[in-house]
Symmetry: C2
Subunit: 160 residues, 2 copies
């Protein structure tokens, strides 16, 4: 039987080449179609992700957005600043906790949701997958992300 242990290192490097590349390429291809689809909304893909969680929750602290999207303030602060400059969100210091900043969609940002409705369907059509396949892919990727995020760094270095 062929298991991880029976494959030579050499073949593994080649396989890695392929899987690495596939994931990398698929991600960038996805980014590409989203970029195109979001062009008319004036949003980048990560900005769209932020707007999605804001449309769903109404308002969130920066930290809350970060937890849901697994992004830190180093990424979110400038991104939110650009969304604010574009007029789609507003930020204000929380009165209860002066450290926290609450983000919520402006009227214009909320209105954008209507225009965004058509986007996911176009993307789904572009993938050529049906609903069940999309859901399955989502499950797999989510499970993989959870598993990879939980890996002990020592298991990845030679001394582990």
């Amino acid at each position: 039987m062929e298991t991880l242990d029976t494959v030579p290192d050499e073949d593994f490097l080649r396989l890695d080449h392929q899987i690495c590349f596939s994931l990398h390429a698929a991600t960038r291809a996805f980014n590409g179609v989203y970029r195109e689809a979001l062009k008319e909304l004036g949003l980048t893909y990560p900005q769209y992700l932020v707007m999605l969680v804001l449309w769903e929750h109404g308002e969130l602290p920066v930290k809350g957005i970060g937890e849901r999207l697994r992004l830190d303030s180093g990424t979110l602060s400038p991104l939110l600043k650009r969304l604010e400059a574009a007029g789609y969100v507003e930020r204000r210091r929380s009165p209860e906790d002066e450290r926290s900043v609450t983000v919520r969609p402006t009227a214009e940002g909320a209105a954008l949701k209507a225009k965004a409705r058509a986007v996911p369907r176009r993307i789904a059509t572009a993938t050529g997958l049906d609903l069940d396949e999309i859901r399955e892919l989502r499950e797999r990727l989510a499970a993989l992300a959870v598993r990879l995020d939980g890996v002990d760094p020592d298991d990845l270095s030679s001394c582990g």
Copy 2:
């Protein structure tokens, strides 16, 4: 029967939130484990991809690397410059075509392959997937990337 056409826009936005996020998160989780595994080699994930194709082909023009990794010169030129500064590759103008630049691993770069051998196995173990599952995921992602790269941009905008 539930098809793409029978799902309301509202549900679609929510689903999109989930699939977007899953792909985004999985990619970054993958990047994270590779970053950790490649730390001792002094390579970033994209630099590792470049070294993989160079180890396999011996030497390639910048264009050849770009075709295999689906990357343009805007990304590759500075990346290769850094690999050269690190002493892993050397670049020289092709004598036959002065426009082209040939890239090949230095002795140090070639030696790195031995240290890199252990990396893919650690990554594969970290994913918790067996060989067949890894292969299947690779197939799916590759097919998806090809399909998405071939999408007509007009199909993604409202006027399409």
